[in-house]
Symmetry: C2
């Protein structure tokens, strides 16, 4: 996740997930990896990027072809278990924002 | 920047900036702080969030009331100097995505 995603020309959708983790792993690392693999296999998945500071603050952005693809991923059975644990165990707080990417510009040295 | 932004009800805009830093500071830290302070003073600025991994990969998301506010910030004279240095010195590569936030959900323990 710690590399730039290669996405197609807009329009497409971005789910911006900003969060503050609780202390300790509590199974987060394994589940997070599993969720990334599961997301990659979803129809309409375009890419994911993530970064976290040592203080527990992090940002994950996933890219999707359509709102329907986002809805299907949100309803995925295994993902719903992870979402429950997010609230119960892993995060102090978080914000999820669903946005439509209208334009993009890439720079490479 | 390493805390959750408090944004109003959607719709509003998010500029998703994902990047890989070059090695060394080269004046980046001071300029980055100045840019955050300058952005906060712009009309239509709603908030900013950022996280960077130790390998140099980072995500910054800034939130804006309108596309016009984003355009004005992009054209700001001091910001344009920083943008030039981004390409010349600070970043191996980056992607800027302009998106319209359609819905948002916040969780707090």
């Amino acid at each position: 996740m710690t590399e730039l995603a290669k996405t197609p020309e807009p329009p497409y959708y971005a789910v911006i997930f900003t969060s503050l983790r609780t202390r300790g792993d509590n199974g987060y690392g394994v589940m997070a990896e599993e969720m990334v693999e599961l997301a990659k296999a979803q129809p309409g998945f375009l890419g994911v990027e993530g970064a976290r500071e040592s203080n527990g603050f992090g940002i994950t952005v996933s890219y999707w072809a359509s709102e329907e693809a986002i809805r299907q991923w949100r309803e995925d059975a295994r993902h719903r278990i992870a979402q429950k644990l997010e609230r119960e165990t892993w995060y102090e707080r978080f914000t999820t924002r669903v946005s439509k990417v209208e334009r993009a510009y890439a720079f490479e040295r």
